[in-house]
C-alpha cells in the first residue's frame, strides 16, 4: 500500500475549508479592511487610511488592555496548570472515593459561563455576599483596582480547572503501570515517581493544556464583562473587552477592528511560539507502541 492511498483526498477537507473560509478567513479580511476605515455601523465605511492604527499607541486604555491581558494570561497559567495537573493525577487513581470527589470537582464544567459569573457576582457582593466576610473590613474585592484582576483570574480558574483536570486525568491513566512497578522495585517513593515518571510522561499534555490556557486567556471576555465590566476604572479591561466596548458600546467600528487585528496577530504569534519552542509541532509520541 502506498503512503498516498492511505491519505484522504482534498475532497474530504472541502466542507471544513468552505466553512473556515466563510466564517474564519473572510471576517478577518473584512476586519482588516474595516481597521482602515471610519464607520459607526450606519451607512458605508469611509476610508481613513492608517488613522486608527496611528491612534492606537495614544489610547491609554489600549496600552492598559495589553498589560491586563498579559497579566491575566500569566495568572491563569500559573493558577490553573499546577492545580489541574495535581488534581488530574490524583483523580487518575482508581479508589472509589476519588470517583465521587472527581465528580464533584467536575461540576463547574457543566455550568454555563454566564451562570458562573453571575453566581460569583452575587457571592462577591460587598454588602450582602460572602465578600463581606472575606474581603477585609469593607468587602471591596471586585471594586478594588489592586485586587479585582486576581479575583477575576480566580473565577476563571474555578471554571476551567475541571476541564484541564480532565485532560491530565486521561493522560495520566495512559501511563503504563509497568513503569511504576519498575520504579517501585527500584525503591522510588511516590514523590520521586511523580517527578521521574508522571511529569515527563505528561509533557505533551502540559503543552496542549498550556496552549489552550494561553490562547483562551487572550480572547477571554464574558466573565470579565459580567463580573466587573472591565472596572473598577479600567483595572480589568482586557484587550478583547476594550475592543467590544469600542465597537459595540461606542460604535467606533474602525478602531475596534484595529484592536481585533492586533489580537489575531498576537494570538497567532503566541501559539506558534509556544508550539515551536516546545517541539510540539513534530507531534512525536512518547508512548510505547507508537512512533
Amino acid at each position: 500500500m502506498s503512503v498516498k492511498s492511505q491519505r484522504p483526498g482534498f475532497g474530504w477537507a472541502a466542507p471544513a475549508t468552505v466553512f473556515f473560509t466563510a466564517f474564519g478567513i473572510l471576517p478577518i479580511v473584512i476586519v482588516a479592511y474595516l481597521s482602515l476605515t471610519r464607520w459607526n455601523g450606519l451607512g458605508s465605511p469611509t476610508w481613513a487610511g492608517l488613522e486608527n492604527w496611528r491612534a492606537l499607541p495614544d489610547d491609554p486604555d489600549a496600552t492598559n488592555g495589553i498589560k491586563v491581558t498579559f497579566l491575566l494570561t500569566l495568572l491563569s497559567w500559573l493558577i490553573q496548570t499546577p492545580l489541574s495537573l495535581l488534581l488530574g493525577v490524583w483523580a487518575a487513581g482508581r479508589q472509589r472515593s476519588r470517583a465521587v470527589m472527581s465528580t464533584v470537582f467536575f461540576l463547574p464544567l457543566l455550568l454555563s459561563t454566564t451562570a458562573i459569573a453571575l453566581t460569583w457576582l452575587s457571592l462577591l457582593d460587598p454588602n450582602f455576599g460572602l465578600a463581606a466576610s472575606l474581603g477585609g473590613s469593607d468587602g471591596n474585592l471586585l471594586g478594588s483596582p489592586t485586587r479585582a484582576l486576581y479575583v477575576v483570574a480566580f473565577v476563571i480558574a474555578w471554571q476551567f480547572v475541571p476541564f484541564h483536570t480532565l485532560l491530565y486525568q486521561a493522560a495520566a491513566r495512559q501511563i503504563p503501570t509497568s513503569m511504576y512497578e519498575d520504579a517501585e522495585l527500584a525503591g522510588a517513593n511516590a514523590l520521586r515517581q511523580f517527578f521521574a515518571i508522571t511529569l515527563p510522561q505528561l509533557r505533551n499534555t502540559i503543552i496542549a493544556s498550556s496552549v489552550l490556557i494561553v490562547v483562551g486567556s487572550l480572547t477571554y471576555f464574558e466573565s470579565i464583562l459580567l463580573l466587573t465590566g472591565g472596572g473598577p476604572g479600567t483595572a480589568t479591561r482586557a484587550l478583547p473587552l476594550h475592543m467590544y466596548i469600542k465597537g459595540f458600546v461606542g460604535f467606533d467600528m474602525g478602531f475596534a477592528s484595529a484592536l481585533a487585528v492586533l489580537l489575531v496577530a498576537v494570538g497567532t504569534l503566541l501559539s506558534v511560539l509556544i508550539v515551536r519552542s516546545t517541539g510540539y509541532h513534530r507531534m512525536t509520541s512518547e508512548r510505547e507502541g507508537f512512533l
Partner: protein, 436 residues
C-alpha cells in the same frame, strides 16, 4: 464591489458572527426572509420592560382595531437592543418604528439619513401639541422633530431614608454644604452617607450633571454637546469634577462603592435597609423600591428632595437632569412611512395611552395631567416629579445619551477613574477633549 454594497455585506457578517440573526441579511444574500418592505405590518421595536410594555401593547391593540395596516411589537433587552438597532438601521430592512433615547443616540441615525422628520405632521395636527416643550426638545435634531415622547419623564431625584434621618435627628439637605456636613455626620454614625453603585459609570454621572448645572447653568453642557473646542476645559466643569472627586475621597459613598452594582439591586437594598442614608437616582427608583422592598415604600420611609443648591452657582436650582423620556421615531427606509407616522402620532397622543401610562406608575411628558396624577396610586411622588419637571427652565438629558455613543462611553470610563482617584480632574478634561 461598491462601498455601499460592501457595507451591507459587512453588516451581515457582523450580524452572523455575533448578534442575533438579522432578517436584513436574508434580503441581501437573497436566501431567506422577506425582502425590504414586503412586511404587511408596521413593525415596532421597543425595550423589554414590565412597566411600559403592557401600555404599548394596549395602545397597539387599540390602534389595530380601526387600522387597515396593523402594527406589531417586538421587544429586546436594553444592551442587546442598542446593538441590534445600530446594526439593523444600517441594513436595508430596519424596523418601521423604533424606540430610542433622543439626543446623540437619535442624532447619529438622523445624520445618516435614516429617520423621518415629523415636524410638518405635528404642526398640521393640533391634537398633537400636548407634550411638554422641554421634553420635546430632546427629540429634536438641528431644530427638527424626529422623536415623540412615548413614556414617562424620569428626572434624577435625591432619595433619602426617612427612618435613618429621623434616628439621627437630621434633615435632608437643601444646599451642597448641608450635604457635606450630613456626610460627616452619617460617617460618624457608621452609616454610608450616600449609596453609589460605582460599578456602573452612569450612576456617578448624575453627580457631575447636577453639579455642573448648579455651578455653571445648562449652557456649559450645551457647549460640550455642540463639540466646541475647549468646552470640557471650562472652569465650571473643572469645579464640578473637583467636587465629585472630593465627595468620593471624603467617604460620601463608603469605601466599597466600586464593588456595588445597580442592576442586581445591591445599591437599592443598601439604601432600603438603612445601611445608606441617601441615594441619588432616576425617578424609576421609586417603582423599583415599590417592587423590591414594598414595606419600605408602604411605611412611608422613602423620602425625596430635589438636588441641593450650590452656593454662588450660576445655575437655576429648579433645573433638572435625567432622562426626559424615551421616544418613538420612524425609519426613513420604512415601506409604510405614512402609516407608521400616523401610528406613532395617534397612539402617543391618545387619551387612553396617556391614562394607561399614569396607571402604570409613569408621569407622562404631557401638559395638564396634574389632576389625573393626583388621583393615581403613587400620587405624592408622581405630582412631585411632574411639578419638578414642569417648573424647570431646563431639563438636561443624561450626558451619556446626549453625546454620541463613542464620546459617551469614553465619558463613563474616565468618570469611573475620576471617582477612584486614578486620574485628576485636569487629566479628565484633557482625555475628554481628545475623545471624538
Amino acid at each position: 464591489m461598491r462601498p455601499a454594497r460592501l457595507g451591507k455585506v459587512i453588516v451581515c457578517v457582523i450580524a452572523m458572527a455575533g448578534l442575533a440573526a438579522n432578517s436584513g441579511c436574508g434580503a441581501v444574500l437573497g436566501t431567506a426572509g422577506p425582502a425590504a418592505g414586503s412586511r404587511n405590518r408596521i413593525q415596532v421595536w421597543a425595550l423589554q420592560d414590565a412597566q411600559n410594555q403592557p401600555v404599548i401593547e394596549a395602545g397597539i391593540r387599540e390602534y389595530n382595531r380601526s387600522a387597515i395596516l396593523h402594527a406589531e411589537l417586538l421587544t429586546y433587552v436594553n444592551d442587546a437592543y442598542k446593538q441590534k438597532l445600530q446594526v439593523s438601521m444600517g441594513s436595508p430592512n430596519p424596523p418601521d418604528v423604533f424606540f430610542n433615547w433622543g439626543g446623540g443616540n437619535l442624532a447619529q441615525f438622523v445624520r445618516s439619513g435614516n429617520v423621518v422628520d415629523l415636524s410638518t405632521r405635528l404642526r398640521r395636527d393640533s391634537n398633537a401639541n400636548i407634550f411638554l416643550p422641554n421634553i420635546m426638545q430632546v427629540g429634536q435634531v438641528d431644530g427638527k422633530q424626529y422623536g415623540i415622547p412615548m413614556n414617562g419623564i424620569q428626572p434624577v431625584v435625591l432619595f433619602y431614608n426617612k427612618k435613618v434621618f429621623a434616628d439621627a435627628g437630621l434633615k435632608p439637605p437643601t444646599t451642597f454644604d448641608e450635604l457635606l456636613s450630613l456626610v460627616d455626620k452619617f460617617k460618624a454614625r457608621d452609616v454610608t452617607p450616600i449609596a453609589l453603585p460605582g460599578t456602573q459609570g452612569w450612576t456617578e454621572l448624575m453627580y457631575l450633571e447636577y453639579l455642573l448645572d448648579r455651578i455653571g447653568g445648562p449652557k456649559k453642557f450645551e457647549a460640550i454637546v455642540a463639540g466646541r473646542p475647549g468646552a470640557w476645559r471650562d472652569a465650571a466643569v473643572l469645579k464640578a469634577l473637583e467636587m465629585c472627586q472630593d465627595l468620593a475621597e471624603r467617604g460620601a459613598f463608603g469605601r466599597n462603592f466600586a464593588s456595588i452594582n445597580y442592576d442586581n439591586t445591591g445599591a437599592s437594598k443598601l439604601f432600603a435597609t438603612g445601611k445608606a442614608a441617601m441615594f441619588l437616582m432616576g425617578s424609576w427608583e421609586y417603582s423599583n423600591q415599590a417592587t423590591a422592598n414594598p414595606k419600605f415604600v408602604e411605611n412611608g420611609e422613602l423620602g425625596w428632595v430635589p438636588f441641593p443648591k450650590v452656593a454662588g452657582g450660576a445655575g437655576d436650582p429648579k433645573n433638572v437632569v435625567g432622562n426626559p423620556s424615551n421616544y418613538f421615531s420612524v425609519s426613513a427606509k420604512s415601506a409604510h412611512r405614512d402609516a407608521a407616522v400616523n401610528f406613532v402620532v395617534s397612539m402617543t397622543t391618545s387619551k387612553q395611552y396617556i391614562s394607561a401610562l399614569i396607571e402604570a406608575g409613569q408621569v407622562p411628558a404631557v401638559k395638564g395631567v396634574e389632576k389625573e396624577l393626583e388621583g393615581s396610586d403613587n400620587a405624592e411622588f408622581a405630582t412631585f416629579t411632574y411639578r419638578m419637571v414642569t417648573q424647570a427652565k431646563s431639563f438636561t438629558q443624561s450626558w451619556d445619551q446626549a453625546l454620541s455613543p463613542s464620546v459617551g462611553s469614553e465619558l463613563l470610563t474616565n468618570l469611573q477613574k475620576l471617582f477612584l482617584s486614578d486620574i485628576s480632574p485636569q487629566q479628565f478634561v484633557e482625555a475628554m477633549e481628545k475623545a471624538k
